[in-house]
Amino acid sequence: MKMPDPDQSIMAKRNEIAEALREIVPGEGVILSDRELQVYESDGLTAYRQPPLMAVLPQTVEQVSQVLTYCHAEGIKVVPRGSGTSLSGGALPLADAILLCMGKFNQIVEVDYDNRCAVVQPGVTNLGITKAVEGQGFYYAPDPSSQIACSIGGNVAENAGGVHCLKYGLTTNNLLGIEMVLIDGTVLRFGGKHLDSPGYDLLGLMTGSEGLLGVVTEVTVRILPKPETARALLLGFSSSESAGDCVAAIISEGIVPGGMEMMDKPAIEAAEAFVNAGYPLDVEALLIVELDGPQAEVDYLIDQVSAIAEKCGAITSRISQNEEERQLFWAGRKAAFPAVGRLTPDYYCMDGTIPRNKLPLVLKRMREMSEHYGLRVANVFHAGDGNLHPLIMYDANNPGELEKAEDFGSDILKLCVEVGGVLTGEHGVGVEKRDLMPEMFNEIDLKQQLRVKCAFDSKALLNPGKVFPELHRCAELGRMHIHKGKLPFPDIPRF
């Protein structure tokens, strides 16, 4: 993975820059020592490591604004970081960039139950929001599996998802407002406690922009009353095709489950060996279908789903009888990543999305690739919304195996695009999938996205080297090639 060449003139000024930033963020807010910087050299994508020029830990919006103003004036690159759980290298440092760590923004500013929202600082963890409001019977819906650690600021940057997206949406569908700082230090607020805003939807644009457009300093999220009850079904099938048919049949019946997860045989075996959730081992595919909502509705729908599953040829079918059993059904799924981790020294987690009905085809092709590369793969799948997480098992100590795993991963993502899907469903492009962007977008598409970047950050100082395979200067992107059109265009009806 080639990152932009470090700017030697910036690296030579390291001490001078540190001094200037200490004026803004006094005390221990600027970290320079190699030993301390080691903590920051990587995020959740540990295959890549790079210590930053220095780490800066501001505590106030004013400080963030001043740090960015200074960096903008001096032409210093900035990589924002929340909790550092990105699986795509979104917070991977650069040798000539300061790492702007937002961890000290860890306060819940306000919970407003009457307006069903919470105003929080970006360093508050995803689960921290739910913890703050669950006493009153509320929760924050998006639940990425890193929710115990990941920050809401990072969730905004990545548009984080989770297992309940089908019914409750991604981060972008659960935000009401943000405060953010542009690279030139301008502090802006989009949205608030009301719905929709006049002008362009910059709140929506910022969500999922992977730290390339601005630094989020406050987030207003929608909180929801907890569903009255939730029950789950555990359904085993003799083929992924029949499991896929069952998913389609459930949706065709007008049922939108709170969660609908699928695991393939290697993933089932790994999970069962790890947590003893009672998963059947004689099936090729396992579905967990969770219904949540009012008691009467859940009871009614459980019966319906059960009947649909039978029609689709489920060979095992269990309904959770109590909360403990429901949690047990989920325990295996939630532990799937570490469970696979026990089978292999290293694994590489992919994140493509496909139209659901392409699943059998994609799984078949993946098995062929697995043979071709000589690497095992286990699959967990957000079946409701088509988000696939193949876990490629490899051993980084074997020379060339990491590269092989990466090639395998690329082939899977290219396949996702080929069947009508996308490169990433919830982990982000980051550095990981950056060079695959042309698989999905042509040059004009990518340049139009880069022009959005130009409107926010014309010097390309914020998180460079992420998302886009090529950097273009904004002046070049702004040029137009107008062919002095000669009328007529005979094909177009004119009146």
């Binding site: 009457d114 998802g161 009301h194 929709d196 362009y200």
Partner: protein, 401 residues
């Protein structure tokens, strides 16, 4: 002025390229249902996308539909209904309000204006169901963004930028949306005779419970008397329950005991319930007020009644609340109320949009709430990057956008 009506995406690109080469601007139009909404465009040509029609992909079990931008919403809704599906955000029909006759308009117009109805409270806005598009920027280039799957974080979310941009950044040719199973039944739980303040609290109590209320509106007496529902002359507070029959019955019982403090409620069943919500969605109840201006005000829901109270009208204001108090439809005499409304909103937060002017929108105050300078400057830079010569719907949103 010429009226250019491309018949396919290729011709659409040619048309914009031609406009660009002449440096002549174009007003984008589908069915024209919302032409009177917002600022008027003074363009050199009319770019008519109403010939770009047809559903190009609909896979009910995948919950996805793609169609050309000029496809009529009615056609899409009819196709979805065959499979018991719908657009959950409930696009509103501005036709009655702006043209005097219903006109749901086109898919492109709906997305470009980000229109959503009462169910926006629970289901999100049009923008939340907008998965992908292809269109031509003001640079005369065809580009695409997004895809046909819901979970997608590949690149910037340009769908959000297009939704609500009123055609000022690009003219869309193809659009993909997420569709959902339609509820089998709906009923409305009604409380009678509440004051605005009591109603605001009742809606909050209902919404804060796990009864899954999908829409909540309060109709003061002056409006409810126009609804011609069994000659009802009292204020009505409506809570909409949708889904499977047993679930609705169960939730109705729970709501009844939850809301006993607000008086005795009753139930309105289908088809009255549906028709009532449609009237509220399309602001039909304000229709008879011809010489009046109509405002749409979005604010934090719990502040709804306090906001109305703070206005201290000298006249008989007509208004009702949707979105549990977070949306106020307000009809006033004359046009010069912008500074009053927007001034009062400063403390509550939110924005006021002039939907229909009493005297002609050209003379009225800015229909969209003015923006902070930093935000406006950023939007202008975005506009410049999509449409550097300002040839697409110039001035439709604000003077420079």
């Amino acid at each position: 002025m010429s009226h250019i009506k491309p018949e396919n995406a290729g011709q659409l690109e040619e048309a914009v390229k031609w406009g660009l080469s002449q440096e002549e601007s174009m007003e984008i139009i589908g069915s024209g249902s919302k032409q009177k909404l917002g600022r008027a465009v003074c363009a050199d040509h009319l770019l008519d996308v109403s010939a770009l029609t047809g559903i190009t992909l609909y896979e009910p079990e995948e919950l996805v539909l793609s169609a050309r931008a000029g496809t009529s919403l009615i056609e899409i809704q009819e196709e979805l209904a065959k499979n018991n599906q719908y657009m959950a955000f409930e696009p509103m029909d501005y036709g009655a309000l702006l043209k005097g006759t219903p006109d749901a308009g086109t898919l492109g117009g709906m997305v470009a204006c980000n229109l959503s109805g009462p169910r926006r409270l629970k289901a999100g806005a049009a923008r939340d169901h907008f998965l992908g598009f292809s269109g031509v920027s003001g640079r005369g280039e065809t580009f695409k963004s997004g895809g046909r799957v819901v979970k997608n974080v590949t690149g910037y979310d340009l769908m959000k930028l297009m939704a609500g941009s009123y055609g000022t950044l690009a003219v869309m040719s193809d659009i993909t949306i997420k569709v959902l199973p339609a509820p089998l039944e709906e009923k409305s739980y009604v409380l009678y005779g509440l004051s605005d303040e009591q109603a605001n609290r009742a809606m909050s109590v209902a919404l804060n419970s796990s009864r899954e209320v999908s829409s909540a509106a309060h109709i003061p007496q002056i409006i409810s008397s126009k609804l011609s529902l069994e000659a009802e002359e009292r204020a009505m507070t409506l809570l909409r329950l949708e889904g499977h029959g047993p679930s609705i019955t169960y939730r109705t019982d729970k709501l009844t005991s939850l809301l006993t403090g607000f008086g005795k409620g009753s139930l309105i069943a289908d088809p009255e319930s549906r028709s009532l919500w449609q009237k509220l969605r399309d602001a039909e109840v304000l229709l008879k007020s011809e010489e009046r201006s109509i405002w749409r005000i979005s604010l934090p829901p719990a502040q709804g009644s306090a906001f109305i109270d703070s206005l201290k009208f000298n006249e008989q204001a007509e208004y009702y609340y949707d979105w549990a108090g977070g949306l106020i439809w307000l009809s006033l005499t004359g046009d010069h109320n912008a500074s009053l409304l927007r001034g009062r909103l400063k403390s509550a937060g939110g924005h006021a949009t002039l939907v229909r002017s009493a005297t002609g929108i050209e003379d009225a105050e800015s229909p969209q709430q003015p923006l902070e300078p930093g935000e406006y400057a950023l939007m202008k830079r975005i506009k410049d990057n999509f449409d550097p010569k300002a040839i697409l719907n110039p001035g439709r949103l604000y003077a420079d956008l």
